[in-house]
């Protein structure tokens, strides 16, 4: 397995710059997920690592060896495609053995490696079937098997779960994670699904418009997004962004919403937020921290009364949508309490989890200390 370094990588199609000078180190055995909306350049970056896309400028290194000018076969990487890209005329066994055959591995060794990968993926019984005789999930496994048999320097996954239904996707996520834990392989994984990114990654790379917006471990990116885009993209349901004005009164800071509601800013954040006093800002607050649940009763909580527009039950909790002064909010409410649209609800805004966003730069202002 290899350590992969992307150094100021650029990809241009004519005047269109798809990837704009990205730099990243992917450690040996690390599971790195590139996540972002459609067209953000994540697949292009992956394809450049694979050698399927020429690099306009910049450098790709595998263990300090520059590979950006090498053809895909010389890079020794395995790729799992969104469409699986299984050879339709070959059985699962032949699909998995194809790369070994290209390398001139002996038949006995091919068979041994295919069997071993098939056992890992529970597809031994499917080896003689053609791709069209397999379900989506089974094809996915064969595609992964084709990658695993090679023992490559890195695995590249291009949205491999997007063609599966929700239940199968969740199951395959676990399988992929297990395989990674077992093989300790360097994996670069592309997805637009932030849940997939959060659950799988050791390192998450959030991309937008060909740039890396934030790189870090999933919990860090979730808890401490560096800008509004990352804050909104990572986390489901999406973070609420509340236009407000930061008001300083007697040394204390609070956020005044457009309708006059005042949400006190936790004391620990005053030093960091003070430069924004008397300025228009945005407050970021995840729906998990805007809730009617009793356990959220910290001193930093502030009550907020709202009229329910929409209720989406998700099981133990429901997603509540309401609006204040024309701005839509999402909150999490206990499903145990019977409610209907139009009902009033008293929510607790846990301001210890607030994020302050500078309107001009859209940057999240670091609170300096972790507690409120």
């Amino acid at each position: 397995m290899a350590r992969i370094v992307l150094d100021n990588l650029v990809k241009r199609y004519g005047d269109d710059e798809a990837v704009r000078g990205v730099t990243l180190a992917i450690e040996n055995g690390e599971f790195t997920v590139l996540v972002g909306p459609s067209g953000c350049g994540k697949t292009t970056t992956l394809r450049m690592i694979a050698g399927l896309e020429e690099v306009t400028s910049g450098n790709i290194r595998f263990d300090n060896e520059s590979v950006e000018n090498l053809p895909p076969k010389a890079r020794d990487v395995a790729m799992v495609f969104q469409s699986y890209a299984l050879y339709p005329h070959m059985s699962a066994r032949k699909n998995m053995a194809f790369s070994l055959r290209m390398k001139g591995v002996s038949r006995a060794e091919q068979e041994r490696l295919v069997q071993s990968a098939a056992e890992l993926l529970n597809i031994t019984a499917l080896l003689d079937r053609k791709p069209r005789e397999l379900s989506g999930g089974q094809r996915q496994r064969v595609a992964m098997g084709r990658a695993i048999v090679r023992n490559p320097r890195a695995f590249l996954f291009d949205e491999p779960l997007s063609n599966l239904d929700a239940a199968l996707r969740a199951q395959m996520r676990i399988e992929i994670k297990k395989i990674h834990q077992k093989l300790q392989a360097t994996i670069v994984y592309v997805t637009h699904d932030q849940v997939e990114a959060m659950t799988l990654a050791d390192k998450i790379v959030v991309m937008r418009d060909g740039r890396f917006e934030q790189v870090g471990d999933p919990v860090e990116v979730y808890q401490h997004p560096t800008n509004k885009f990352v804050a909104g993209f990572i986390g489901s349901p999406r973070m609420n962004f509340i236009p407000a004005r930061l008001v300083a009164e007697n040394g204390a800071l609070s956020a005044e919403l457009r309708d006059g509601t005042v949400l006190p800013v936790p004391r620990g954040r005053w030093p960091a937020y003070r430069p924004y006093a008397d300025q228009a800002v945005e407050i970021g607050l995840r729906p998990d921290h805007l809730t009617d649940r009793q356990e959220t009763n910290a001193p930093s909580c502030h009550f907020l009364d709202a009229t329910i527009d929409v209720i989406e039950p998700t099981g133990a909790t429901s997603l509540i949508t309401f609006s204040i002064d024309g701005i839509e909010f999402a909150a999490i409410a206990d499903s145990g309490v019977p409610r209907r649209p139009g009902d009033r609800i008293r929510l607790r805004a846990d301001m210890s989890h607030m994020h302050l966003i500078d309107l001009a730069s859209e940057k999240v202002i670091a609170p300096d200390c972790s507690t409120a």
Partner: protein, 291 residues
């Protein structure tokens, strides 16, 4: 009166079935019936002679030489059409400037009427003032003009003209298939370590098999029964005997010797050969077509 669903269905397909019976089954059956008779091509009346026409063909050296020439003509033109057609389709599937224009130009020969194509080639191949001979001599490939329509080269000329005229059909069919092969298969093969040749052998060719199966079948039938191109080339030269294939021989027997029965027997033999070879072809090569 209300008809049942099945009666309505039968009634609706009846015109098509009637048409098929009149235009296909009747001529075939009539041809077979005719082959058992001695019959002048234009005068009424015939005499039943059993298998005598077939017996005659068995001992007729012209029949055997025509059959042999027909096989040479069909097999060589099909092989060359497939090789040239697949190669051209592969090139035309790549991106290059003016690709659509070139695609259109490649299809020209197939759209030109046969009579025009043959006259054109006869001029090009003329042994005194033909452009081909001029070029061959000018580039030093030959010392003297080749008699393309003479005994030694007329079959070569016929094959070249036929390949030129009909390979666009292969291009069309193969190009259509090539465009539907998912690009990811090639990328997967690249990542799996396959070079260009292996990608062709392991990705392109298997994907083309289903279309090549049909193309080879159709072209075989069409080339084995090809009459117009061969007939037009035989006109006006002295070497027509050397490209006489079975369809031409059947025509000669019927309309030059006025032996409609013998002509019909030749046609029936051709029909039987095609049925037999098609059956063997299906048996040997028919793969699962759901690739």
């Amino acid at each position: 009166m209300r008809l049942s669903q099945s009666s309505t269905g039968l009634l609706l397909i009846a015109p098509a079935v009637a048409l098929l019976l009149c235009l296909t089954l009747y001529p075939v059956m009539h041809g077979i019936w005719l082959s058992f008779h001695a019959k002048h091509s234009f005068f009424p009346g015939q005499t039943f002679i059993g298998l005598a026409n077939y017996g005659f063909l068995l001992g007729d050296p012209d029949f055997w030489s025509s059959l042999w020439r027909g096989v040479i003509y069909s097999v060589s033109t099909i092989i060359l059409q497939i090789v040239l057609g697949v190669a051209a389709a592969l090139v035309l599937n790549e991106m290059f400037p003016a690709r659509n224009l070139v695609r259109g130009i490649v299809l020209f020969p197939y759209m030109i009427p046969t009579v025009v194509a043959v006259i054109l080639w006869k001029w090009l191949l003329n042994n005194q003032f033909g452009l081909v001979n001029y070029g061959l001599v000018a580039f030093g490939i030959t010392d003297e003009n080749i008699s393309w329509m003479g005994r030694s080269y007329i079959m070569v000329s016929l094959i070249l003209i036929s390949v030129w005229q009909f390979f666009p059909f292969v291009v069309l069919a193969v190009l259509a298939r090539l465009q539907t092969i998912p690009h990811e298969l090639y990328e997967a093969a690249k990542v799996d370590g396959a070079g260009a040749v292996r990608r062709f052998l392991h990705v392109t060719l298997p994907q083309l098999m289903s279309v090549l199966f049909v193309v080879i079948l159709l072209r075989s039938i069409w080339m084995f029964t090809k009459f117009d191109t061969v007939w037009l080339i035989t006109q006006g030269g002295g070497a027509e005997k050397y490209i006489r294939t079975l369809p031409v021989y059947a025509y000669l027997r019927t309309f030059h010797f006025y032996e409609a029965g013998t002509g019909a027997a030749i046609a029936v033999v051709m029909f039987a050969i095609l049925v037999a070879s098609t059956t063997v072809y299906f048996y040997l090569f028919r793969r699962d077509e759901r690739l």
